[in-house]
Amino acid sequence: MIRKLLLAATLLACAPAALAQQVAITGGRIVTNTTQGVIENGTVVINNGRIVSVGTGAAPSGAMVVDAAGKWVTPGLFAAFSRVGLAEIPSEDPANDISAGASKFQAALHAADSFNPDDTAIDVSRIEGFTRAAIVGAPAGGLFGGYAAIVDFTGAFNSIDTREAFMLAELGEGGASTAGGSRAAAWHWLLTAIDDAKTYPRGFEDDGEGDILIRKEAVALKPVVEGRVPLMVEVHRATDILQLLTLRQREPRIKLIILGATEGWRVADQISAAKVPVIVNPLANLPDRFEILAATLENAGRLSAAGVTVAIADPGQASHNTRLIQQLAGNAVANGMPWEAAFKAITSVPASLYGRADLGVLRTGATADVVIWDGDPLELMSSPDAVYIDGVATPMESRQTKLRDRYMQVNEAKPQAYERQ
């Protein structure tokens, strides 16, 4: 039965007709993430990869009708911070492109150039409702982790949307260690790198080097210091956050995003006043490190209540369990974040952080990334029945579902290897 359903989904995804035909998803509980709010018993119409309409009207004649009665219909989930597609097996160097500590280049590196659309974690993430992600490498051998890309989770060769979504950098304990041993060294490094990029090519004439950056690294940071691409900085300690916020005065053009902000609740008003968005892991509640002694399960809710723009992700689970972002959001709700804010934190907020107002929402004209769920998408026991990317239903199977199907029965007459999934 399961296999038949999977087959049907595959056919649906592969049939050229599905691309052209108008689809109407009817009868579901629609979470729009717009001023339309939640629409009960609504209809979402999709055509040519775009949302045509969202409302309570009947399906247009000629549209293929997908009955979603009793289901939830939402925008596709958008992972605000992920490493899917960068490491098939993180512990094996040849299968891991997350970081390049031995490279002389760091800021100039683009995750898009490492991204593998055949990575098995893509299907694994997509069938849990994720349609897009910001993927990025990790800092190693410098403060910068390079450029993040926006990718879709179709697994297609052309699944890179944006090559320069943000630049990643690291301060705090990690940055201090990289920069030579102290926070002061890391901060000075960051400011010097910014100055190098701002003044480039001035100062590079003699030996091709600035005060800290080599020429190509300075070139790479130009879009960041000019405010064309956001700078995402990982910081956790309250005082580290405050120091980072001083950059708003020194460098008003730089668009900051804070990654981590585990002690953010202590300086929530300052973050809010500076209009700097944050990406938090709502489950960080242990004093794992001295920079997160004040970690609390209520961080996401308190930041949200203070008016901070909050996205949710866990950089520690980025390559294979990006899908757990859904659970993180549910737990944020359990600890004081309003449901609507938590759901936006894994859909429309990350999309808009990276300039993709067409994603994470169900409104006319938006890109048709749509998920039909068998229940509340922030509930642990809910899962998608269908995932549309750019208006196309995608296969609800992964290497994991194939393994599952192969071993649902063991001790069959012939070894499992003869069984095609």
Partner: protein, 507 residues
């Protein structure tokens, strides 16, 4: 079973001081008997419990909890259920309508709430790898050699690890702390109650058996064979080297046990002769000669011998199905029992074998892919192990964050299992969290289910514990409240957190 285990504790304690056989003078009473005899000698024996539990239950009052949705831990559910706790034990459980509430007892109305047995995490490193995870706190892997069965993880436990209180807030009432997985034999694990204490002994679960951590696969061969000089290096380099390492150690343990068995038998015979009365006919009593010499003590082999004697339960870290099958054969070769495979990312491929051999699978809901031996992880692993004939599935954490939400891990596994058509109830799934881990730890007679006479280790949840939005409201260990979400006086703050930012905050 060695006879010396039956000796009174006093004799054991006296003998425990000696590391080599040392004849002791006979007590006065024996010397004063009518017939002169050779001085008696104490049998050489060592305490099995030299670091005894000093656990004392927190102050508790009898309580009648009514109107709850109850998962009994045996797979059953009771709507409008009630549980009566008296003297720290479950004294009754059932439908409220069928129960009589003792007069004058404290009552908790649990309308809209769920009540379950406390969660037992079979795989934790709390205290041994505590928060903060600084270098000074790395006390979980005694990586000085591939076989370190002589180390006991309780000697690493820092009772002030804030992780214990976080796990409390997640409804965990007992856990097994294990050494890490660097070694083939990592050392002894210990079972603790999740209560605050000044010492590790204050947390030790009274009467629980010892356990032995073993590890398969990538970790031992990476740490030793490819240790790059950081560790001693040398064997094992390969999985076959791993198995040779286990076999070598088990062979030594077999020979060690043979020596002790022989010593005990010889001592019995000697003692019998020495104590026998002189013949009535006036013949001279036969000279019992010298007592036998005890074998030299070996702390490493003591632990392995405990396994061969069936007293110490094997907890084996193993990811791949084919390796688990090898380890099952290994256990048969040397005649011991594997209690549970831990992590078992591929357990679903041999769920039938695990069931047939009575081995539990202690598993994650969805961790996968972070290393090659975790590559074939699937989300239906736990439900598939559960569904096998005689299947015993356990949700484990191995993680200071995961331990806080084991109910959520069960929920994810259950949902995926049911979506694949396995048809498992929530009440059945609760066996993964309490009964099955208690069974694999040898403490099922004390905790893990809500049955009269068992310790009142109970959690009242704010709602359905398989929901993201549910939290543990009240946690009882031996009938005493260890955690109360509504009352800061019942929310422990460990020493480390005092005077720090966020002290006493919601955690």
């Amino acid at each position: 079973m060695h006879l010396w285990k039956l000796l009174p504790l006093v004799a054991l304690a006296a003998a425990a001081c000696a590391t080599t056989p040392r004849p002791m003078e006979a007590p006065e009473a024996a010397a004063a008997s009518s017939e002169p005899v050779k001085p008696l000698v104490s049998r050489v024996a060592y305490s099995k419990d030299p670091y005894p539990s000093t656990y004392k239950p927190l102050p508790a009052e009898d309580v009648f909890i009514r109107n709850a949705t109850v998962f009994d831990g045996l797979g059953g559910m009771i709507e409008r259920g009630a549980v009566l706790i008296q003297g720290g034990k479950i004294s009754a459980i059932g439908s409220e309508a069928a129960m009589t509430m003792p007069a004058g007892i404290k009552t908790i109305d649990a309308a809209g709430k769920w009540l379950t047995p406390g969660i037992v995490d079979i795989h934790s490193h709390l205290g041994a790898y505590p928060s903060p995870g600084i270098e000074a706190h790395q006390d979980g892997n005694e990586a000085s050699g591939p076989v370190t069965a002589e180390v006991w993880v309780e000697h690493s436990i820092w009772p002030h690890d804030p992780g214990f209180t976080r796990a409390m807030a997640g409804g965990v009432t007992a856990m097994q702390i294990l050494p890490g997985s660097a070694n083939l034999f990592g050392g002894r694990g210990v079972i603790i109650k999740n209560v605050p204490g000044r010492t590790a002994q204050d947390m030790k679960f009274p009467g629980a058996p010892y356990t032995l951590k073993m590890a398969c696969g990538e970790n031992p061969k990476r740490v030793y064979g490819y240790g790059s000089g950081r560790f001693p290096g040398g064997a094992p380099f390969t999985r076959m080297g791993n198995v040779a390492g286990y076999r070598d150690a088990w062979q030594q343990a077999t020979e060690y046990k043979r020596k002790w068995d022989k010593y005990d038998a010889d001592f019995d015979a000697w003692e019998k002769k020495a104590k026998s009365p002189a013949p009535a006919d006036g013949e001279k009593k036969e000279d019992p000669k010298d007592p036998p010499n005890a074998p030299d003590r070996n702390l490493e082999l003591d632990t392995l011998m405990g396994v061969l004697d069936g007293e110490i339960l094997v907890q084996q870290h193993c990811y791949r199905a084919d390796e688990m099958a090898q380890i099952i054969d290994l256990s048969k070769e040397f005649g011991y029992k594997i209690s549970a495979f831990h992590h078992g990312v591929e357990a679903y491929k041999i769920a039938d074998m695990l069931g047939a051999n009575g081995i539990c699978g202690a598993l994650w809901a969805d961790w996968w892919g972070f290393k090659a031996e975790a590559y074939d992880g699937i989300r239906e692993n736990i439900p598939l192990v559960h569904k096998a004939k005689n299947g015993c599935a356990i949700v484990h954490s191995d993680d200071a964050y995961g331990i806080q939400r084991l109910n959520q891990e069960a929920a994810k596994a259950l949902a995926d299992g049911n979506k694949a058509g396995l048809n498992i109830s929530k009440a059945e799934a609760w066996t993964w969290l309490s009964r099955n881990p208690a069974k694999a730890l040898g403490i099922l007679d004390k905790t893990g289910t809500l049955e009269p006479g068992k310790n009142a280790d109970v959690v009242i949840w704010s709602g359905d514990p398989f929901s993201s939005y549910t939290r543990a409201d009240l946690v009882f260990v031996d009938g005493a409240v260890t955690w109360d979400r509504a009352n800061v006086d019942s929310q422990p703050v460990v020493d480390f957190e005092l005077g720090q930012p966020g002290e006493g905050d919601v955690k």
